[in-house]
Symmetry: none
Subunit: 242 residues, 2 copies
DNA sequence: CGGAGTGACCCC
DNA sequence: GGGGTCACTCCG
């Protein structure tokens, strides 16, 4: 059950009355507040989360809901209904509130724009947020059985640059750069002070949000020795098995 | 407010908390016991009363509830729920516990029975309880504003005959006889002792449950004088007004 | 007065 | 018609 840490899910079967046998599902926030319905959950999380694919009853994200076109027709979730005061909490489900009206830049792929594609200025990327990783905050990768896949740790000298970046954000930034970029991935060349003064201008958008890491020949040597050590251990082990 | 004598209804407004402003309603029995809910009321009254149309919050009988089919779908009131010991008291609301399974005599009105209607044995009544008035115990007539209409008093020499009859029952018995019967209404001919020994057999079901009242010529004379006195008073009053 | 538990309405 | 949501009841 891919439930955020601190949250609890309960299932209660009605014991009597006309609705006996029916089960009620509710969630307990880390603060101990009992959530009894999806609208209430939405109210508590605020408009940051997109719960349209979240099935309150089962507690799982309904992947099918993303495909079934008719089902998702009215996918926008009405957060305004019956709004009242509730403590604001954070439940990491998915932070891309794509269903809400947001300012966007339209990128046309029609015939008229083809000339632009021919430009020799390198890859012509669509406009993107500078700190797009923040939209992933709280998202956890998990396997088909909903088991959360643990995240990687970064070496201590890899320092993220940017406002309020989590270590996860830094990892995401690097991973994406390695995956997408056609050039070398070297990190930010400017100093942290300069970048933080005005990230929107001073950040190198072609590079991940980490400071450049200097790799000395010492570092290379150490790594070589590590590899040799590992190989020797493997060799010994193989010998034992024979 | 059509509340039985000796009972009191209280309304308390919640002063603080999440439910501030909400009101709690409770009833005080003539014995001073505080009733806080409908199930508790039902437990105290026993299964004799049908509270399905009684609205605990307002303290009124909900006539609308008898019409709204969907609302009354589950009209049977679950007296068994959470039963425990409570002193037995009496609150007159309505004593016909129609919702409970009771042995009944089916009277067919279909074509096959029409011959019976033609019998020359006088009015062919449907089977009825001998002491049907008891079902009315505690029922009070009231006007459209729920004001209780006071009951009539009977002359002292009008003695009811039957087990546990209230003076109201006697009045109901006489009223019904005068209203329904096609023959003379004279009351029970047998002695009280004989009838009480076995009311089911010895009671004259065609007559109301009162002993025969002997009206002497003295009684007639007294009544005549009363009427004349009243007329004279009226005459005087009319003269004064001119 | 809070809160679990349930009825009932509403919308799909 | 059936589930989801809400409001209310009832009792600690």
């Amino acid at each position: 059950m891919a439930l955020p840490p601190g949250w609890k899910r309960e299932e209660v079967v009605r014991q009597s009355g006309l609705s006996a046998g029916k089960t009620d599902v509710y969630y307990i926030t880390p603060e101990g507040k009992k959530i009894r319905s999806k609208p209430q959950l939405a109210r508590i999380l605020g408009e940051t989360f997109d719960l349209s694919a979240f099935d309150f009853r089962t507690g799982r994200t309904v992947y099918s809901a993303c495909r079934k076109s008719k089902r998702q027709k009215g996918s926008s979730y009405d957060f305004a209904r019956g709004v009242r005061h509730d403590a604001s909490l954070v439940l990491p489900i998915r932070q891309t509130a794509s269903i809400f009206k947001q300012p966007v830049t339209v990128v046309r792929n029609g015939p008229k724009c083809k000339s632009k594609t021919d430009l020799k200025h390198g890859t012509q990327d669509q406009p993107k947020q500078v700190f797009w990783e923040k939209r992933l905050r709280g998202l956890r990768a998990c396997d088909s059985s909903e088991e959360v896949i643990p995240t990687m740790d970064l070496p201590r000298q890899m320092q993220g640059i940017g406002p309020d970046l989590t270590s996860e954000n830094v990892l995401q930034s690097i991973s994406a750069a390695l995956h997408v970029s056609s050039g070398p991935v070297v990190g930010q060349g400017a100093s942290k002070q300069v970048i933080m003064k005005n990230p929107g201008i001073n950040m190198d958008t072609q590079q991940p949000h980490v400071h450049q890491v200097v790799v000395s020949s010492d570092d290379v040597h150490r790594q070589e020795q590590r590899v040799q050590l590992a190989r020797r251990k493997l060799q010994d082990l193989m010998g034992t098995l024979e």
